[in-house]
Subunit: 214 residues, 2 copies
């Protein structure tokens, strides 16, 4: 029982659990260091297995990387898809979207960076979002804005760019978190109360930013 205790007692294991452990560990390592920078040894350590196991399940580093990228795209934004925004007035739908988007970042703090890195490092060589995936992720916001603009709830908007701006409000907060820490080491930006402040301020900014004047 020397070194394998890093995650949990392994002993009798089955394939499913080991694979998930590896994927979880890899998601963190790849999100921190990208494809080139990630070390299989670091992933193995974190998952509590040997690098041989990684090759056994995922063939090679690239295979593991692709498997890691696959999860967020299929699974993560399903949640946004299941929320049926159409049943709410545009303004309420927008509030709900912002809450859901921020919650998604809280629950999967590594995935945004994982995604940035893939685009930035490899220009999406290993994973291009399909139009469907992309639409699920950002299309629902786009649609809310369009609907609100048509029915007069929102002012005249540049829809595509406003979509990006609203996502930026929600997500950038998490991107600069590590930097912010050095400036205010005492303040935990990921605590529930701080997330609450972030959410409320974001909703206030966006709503007064795009609502019709009248």
């Amino acid at each position: 029982m020397a070194k394998r205790e890093s995650k949990k007692s392994r002993q009798v294991r089955d394939a499913e659990v080991t694979q998930q452990d590896i994927l979880d560990a890899a998601e963190i390592e790849f999100s921190h260091h990208g494809l080139n920078g990630a070390r299989l040894s670091a992933i193995a350590d974190r998952a509590g297995v040997t690098t041989a196991m990684i090759h056994y399940y995922f063939t090679n580093k690239e295979g593991l990387y692709k498997a890691v990228l696959q999860r967020p795209a299929t699974e993560a934004n399903e949640k946004l898809g299941t929320l049926n925004f159409d049943q709410f007035p545009a303004i309420d739908a927008l509030k709900l979207f912002i809450q859901a988007a921020i919650l998604n970042e809280v629950q999967h703090p590594h995935r945004q960076m994982l995604w940035f890195q893939e685009a930035n490092q490899n220009q999406g060589e290993f994973f291009k979002l399909s139009k469907d995936d992309w639409s699920n992720a950002h299309g629902s916001l786009f649609k809310i804005l369009k609907r609100g603009m048509t029915d007069g709830s929102f002012r005249e908007l540049d829809l595509e760019i406003t979509t990006i701006h609203i996502l930026g409000i929600c997500i950038f907060y998490f991107s600069i978190q590590e930097n912010w820490k050095h400036f205010k080491p005492d303040c935990d930006r990921l605590s529930e109360s701080e997330i609450q402040r972030h959410t409320e301020a974001a909703i206030a900014l966006v709503l007064s930013g795009i609502k019709s004047p009248e």
Copy 2:
């Protein structure tokens, strides 16, 4: 004249030029791949030198990395510092800040990611912004907001978080640029006209988002 032509004819060279070439190439490589992921061979190729030159000028990979990180902190945000926002009414100052922040991203498209990566990968181990640097970069925005809130131009705001939100509006646009490309390959988000749209939409969103109601 085999492989050295990647940047420019080298032949007779002097130290200053070579160092700058290496730094420029390294900034791009490190911003794409981070410290671990970057390859000295890639940097050397891009700069049109050999890896021996990198060691000659910067001792080792880490020394080069630190030199690269130093540039943006000292030089880049000086520009924001020189703009004296105090002489303008808060609303005008805010407009100017947004324009300057976006322009800065256009002129240094790699630096934001470089910065993200250092925080994300190494938790700022190799370069923590000093409070002064940080203040220069984001403090001027903070001050504008505070002034506008005090003099009644802006509504009641959560100053720290609103600072982040506004920066997010300006910067996130560039972060997701590579992803966006796959969705709309025909549209160049870095063209002058698109940047113009971005800037105008950002100003409109922020101003109507935080101006006093009355």
